[in-house]
């Protein structure tokens, strides 16, 4: 029962923004090259950092999901090339029977000779997409999406919650499908084929909807969407400012894109619009008095992690500008790719987070890695029959029932508490 030593300065792992920035930079780096060696290097760097710094939370498993998705993308891409693909000339590996198509479908061809060049090109393009996906999966595994959400400004927070709740809908649907399948089996009904599918759709949707309603009522009861009264004038100005600002930004961008249509190339319009939107959002933010619990600090590790990502993408951009050979992989002639040292070095800088990022505290009891259908995500209906719990058991007598009571839960600081009451109340 010893309390684990808390990390310095109340830090709970790296700022989620730093992880997402680093992952975005690595994805950006991957999108600048088609050299398979560099792409595999990026993938390796990302996977290594995740292995070194991931926690054992359920969302840490997303890397594997994205890895599988990436492999599927590569396979799909190669299969499509074999069936319909662009017919690059070169070394013919094998020939599929050609299906003649009418003249209006001239752009498409089915079957025909398959060359090594076209297969290789499809593989490299698929690989690039897979590595970008892997970077996204890494961001998901390293920082829970909810923690990123907490960093949003108060005025956008509520929209953000709505988005995360709706994103959680898909995994919950999977869980409730499993539960309904089990239930149908227990009622002696078929779970296969069209009849099974039709019988399952209604209960699955019903239970998902039911759960959303439960969550919504819980959020309401816990103060989600509380407003503090603001003068009507302020509210009008906030709305008016945001809308006008957005219109100006849109018009200004038109000016930037179509040269000579607006004075100053449209840039003054974009700037003025941005300022108005900022002021509007800030004024709107005054209606919510949300505060943030233990905001994640942005310190040296955050700078180092995000800079390492910037260096990686910067190295590849620099290679492109300097015209260093080897960044793009060409199938003509069919040779082994070369390794541009500047780019490779830059990518290796992306390994830095594996060392400088603070370890997130791991949970006390091991969380399971495998499919645990029953525990489901927190707000789930539990599907049938699964271990009622995982992780640990309720520690017996963790609560000293007799004896000196610890600090009362009521905040002893009178200055804080009445302030909350009056501010929170829509008097």
């Amino acid at each position: 029962m010893s309390r684990r030593p808390s990390a310095p300065s109340g830090r709970r792992g790296l700022h989620p923004g730093a992880w997402w920035l680093w992952a975005a930079c690595m994805a950006g780096a991957a999108s600048r090259t088609t050299n398979p060696i560099l792409l595999l290097l990026i993938g390796g760097v990302v996977a290594f950092v995740v292995a070194a710094r991931r926690t054992d939370a359920p969302w840490s498993r997303s890397l594997v999901v994205f890895l599988r998705l990436g492999l599927a993308v590569i396979v799909l891409r190669m299969v499509l090339v074999v069936l319909f693909g662009n017919r690059l000339p070169g070394h013919v590996l094998f020939t599929l029977p050609h299906v003649p198509l009418p003249s209006w479908a001239r752009g498409v061809s089915i079957g025909g000779p398959v060359t090594a060049e076209s297969l290789l090109q499809a593989f490299v393009q698929g690989l690039r997409l897979a590595v970008v996906l892997l970077c996204f999966g890494a961001a998901n595994s390293l920082a829970s999406p909810y923690r990123l959400l907490r960093c949003l400004p108060a005025v956008l927070y509520e929209a953000g919650v709505a988005i995360t709740v709706s994103l959680a809908f898909a995994p919950e649907l999977v869980i409730s499908i499993a539960a309904v399948r089990d239930a149908r089996r227990l009622r002696g009904r078929t779970v296969r084929g069209f009849a099974g599918l039709r019988g399952m759709a209604v209960p699955v949707l019903e239970s998902a909807l039911d759960r959303s309603l439960q969550l919504a009522s819980s959020m309401d009861a816990r103060g989600y969407g509380r407003r503090i009264p603001v003068a009507r004038g302020v509210r009008r100005w906030a709305t008016g400012g945001t809308v006008t600002g957005l219109l100006l930004v849109v018009g200004g961008i038109y000016g930037v894109l179509v040269a000579g249509s607006l004075p100053g190339g449209g840039i003054p319009f974009v700037a003025l619009g941005a300022v108005l939107v900022g002021v509007g959002l800030a004024a709107g933010g005054r209606r919510t008095n949300r505060t943030r619990y233990r905001p994640d600090p942005w310190g040296t590790p955050e700078w180092l992690v995000s800079c390492s990502g910037v260096v990686a993408v910067g190295a590849l951009v620099a290679c492109g500008i300097l015209g260093i050979a080897g960044l793009q992989f060409s199938v003509y002639p069919l040779t082994l790719p070369t390794l541009p040292l500047l780019a490779a070095g830059g990518i290796l800088v992306g390994l830095l987070p594996a060392v400088v990022a603070p370890m997130e505290r791991r949970s006390a009891a091991p969380a399971s890695d495998g499919p645990r259908p029953d525990d489901g995500p927190g707000r789930g209906n539990r599907p049938l029959a699964a271990p009622e719990a995982t992780g640990g058991t309720v520690p017996a007598a963790t609560l000293p029932v007799v004896g000196p009571a610890p600090e009362p839960a009521v905040d002893p600081d009178p200055a804080v508490f009445p302030a909350v009451r009056t501010r929170g109340r829509a008097a």
Binding site: R184, L186, R222, Y293, A386, T398, V416
Partner: protein, 539 residues
């Protein structure tokens, strides 16, 4: 603190009010228990306190509910979040964030508390509820009892003046339930919190209650008063009260301690009488598990469990939250397959059976019984269950009538109360009378009369040669009906024997009657009543 004045409430489309001209006054600093039969409107009453009824449910509310001087007419639930903390029946469904610490802070963030104050209150709450070991854990990995405590902590951090809890202990094992109730009592005593909680397992909560609100249902008016007075005339009463009524004790005992003080006379009358020994069960083997292990990742849910179930047996599987009870039942029902070892039901592997053959051999009522139901109405559910299993029309409806009489056949299963839904699911599974019956927590939300009817139904089935395995935290149910008890801990079988021996000698699993009359091994009020009436006692 909580004030109801002539409150009536009718759900949309319902033909009679759920609450009818309710007057209720709960003073500050009281722990008030709401009791009543299944489906009598307890949950509706609780949800009216912070305005979820009617702001969230729709329907028509007349009269006035005020909490701490604020009327739910003018204040929607979110504006009452700093006064009322509401913990629902299914804590997992109420979690908004994904880790324990963030969940504890969520309400405070919405209220706009300062960061330093939030931090301090989170730390206090972690200590108060014994959660500090779990602070970094993802919510999805917590056990039922842990989730319940986090849900309570999550509303407590906002320092509400009123805490409203709907069945806070029904999903918990006896030890975890006592822990939660002890923390609640301390909040009431030390912080002057007002607690309103609804519970069916009265044996757990009555010792802590200052006052009891009896919701008789069917439009009858509420009875409010000190626990002992209200319980004297209550249609739902725990074994302790029943024993007190039988022995003529006055005042009625609310705790085992009270009862033991008055029990000397009763012990003398029972002197020399032994409770009847159960007839030994000798039926053919129905099901067996041989060295079954189930692992999910690095979590071991079951560890080389071997057990057998014979026809005519009623086996209670007991153990902490998360000890693997539900997983074991799932193996026998063939909805999960073991990682290693083998499970046989009537000499076949249940996981390989087609659904139609499976229901002919095994019936499982899962913990979340609602998933079994997908008809449009109670009546349709019953008739489709008859069709599915080839029963004579009306069989399921008859069984339902036995478990919970008077259910409206036109109601939608989703509109039923937790207990009514469970009763319907029980009827659907019990009607075809499968040779092996598996029940996971079969009394959640059921009142005492419904439980007694379930007990007699199960006993009949067992006498007919059916085997029953039930996973339950309800020690009183085990005392009444089980012939054998199996205790699981951390996925291993740590105890297996006649129910009387197992539960009487366990401080955690002993039923109230056994605690009062120990060291004599009496389990139920009925046994004592039979012995007192001087009926011939076997053994």
């Amino acid at each position: 603190m909580i004030h109801f004045e002539q409150v009536s409430f009718t759900y949309d489309g319902a033909d009679r009010p759920t609450l009818d001209r309710v007057d209720l006054d709960v003073p500050e600093g009281e722990l008030c228990v709401v009791v009543g039969p299944t489906g009598s409107g307890k949950t509706t009453l609780l949800r009216a306190v912070n305005g979820l009824v009617p702001h969230f449910t729709g329907g028509r509310l007349s009269g006035e509910v005020t909490v701490d001087g604020r009327s739910t007419r003018e204040f929607p639930p979110r504006e009452l979040a700093d006064v009322v903390g509401m913990v629902g029946q299914n804590p997992a469904a109420s979690f908004v964030t994904d880790s324990v610490e963030d969940e504890l802070a969520y309400t405070m963030e919405n209220l706009g508390l300062e960061a330093t104050a939030m931090r301090r209150r989170v730390e206090d709450t972690l200590d108060l509820l014994g959660l500090h070991e779990l602070r970094d854990r993802p919510l999805a990995t917590l056990s039922g009892g842990q989730q319940q405590r986090v849900a309570i902590g999550a509303v407590l951090t906002a320092s509400p003046r009123v805490l409203v809890l709907d069945e806070p202990t029904s999903a918990l094992d006896p030890a975890a339930a006592e822990e939660v109730l002890a923390s609640l009592t301390r909040l009431v005593h030390d912080l002057g919190l007002t607690v309103l909680l609804a519970e069916h397992r009265l044996e757990r909560v009555l010792p802590f209650a200052d006052a009891v609100v009896l919701v008789p249902g069917r439009g009858a008016s509420l009875v409010v008063g000190p626990a002992a007075e209200v319980m004297a005339g209550s249609p739902v009463a725990p074994p302790l009260i029943e024993l007190g009524r039988l022995a003529g004790w006055d005042p009625l005992p609310l705790s085992v301690r009270d009862a033991r003080r008055q029990a000397d006379a009763l012990r003398l009358r029972l002197d020399g009488v032994r409770p009847p020994a159960p007839a030994p069960v000798t039926g053919p083997r129905r099901a067996s598990a041989a060295s079954v292990s189930v692992r999910y990742g690095d979590v071991t849910a079951l560890d080389r469990v071997s057990m057998t179930v014979d026809a005519g047996e009623i086996v209670a599987v007991m153990g902490r939250n998360g000890s693997g009870k539900s997983t074991l039942l799932a193996q026998f029902a063939g909805v999960r397959t073991p990682t290693s070892g083998s499970v046989l039901v009537d000499d076949v592997d249940p996981a390989g059976l087609a659904p139609r053959d499976l229901v002919a051999r095994v019936g499982l009522v899962p913990q979340d019984a609602g998933v079994l139901l997908y008809g449009e109405s109670v009546g349709e559910e019953c008739s489709s269950a008859d069709r599915d299993t080839g029963l004579a029309p009306g069989t399921t409806a008859t069984v339902l009538e036995r478990v919970l009489p008077g259910m409206d056949p036109d109601r939608h299963p989703r509109d039923l109360s937790e207990g009514q839904r469970l009763a319907l699911a029980l009827a659907v599974i019990l009607a075809p009378a499968p040779p092996l019956l598996l029940l996971d927590e079969p009394t959640r939300g059921l009142d005492y009369p419904a439980k007694a009817r379930l007990v007699s139904l199960l006993s009949e089935l067992a006498a007919d040669g059916h085997a029953v395995v039930m996973a339950t935290h309800d020690v009183e149910l085990v005392a009444q009906v089980a012939t054998r008890a199996v205790v699981l801990a951390e996925g291993e079988v740590v105890g297996d024997g006649p129910a009387r021996d197992v539960v009487c000698h366990s401080p955690v699993f002993a039923p109230q009657v056994a605690k009062v009359l120990s060291p004599d091994p009496w389990l139920t009020v009925d046994e004592v009543r039979t012995a007192l009436l001087g009926e011939p006692v076997r053994g």
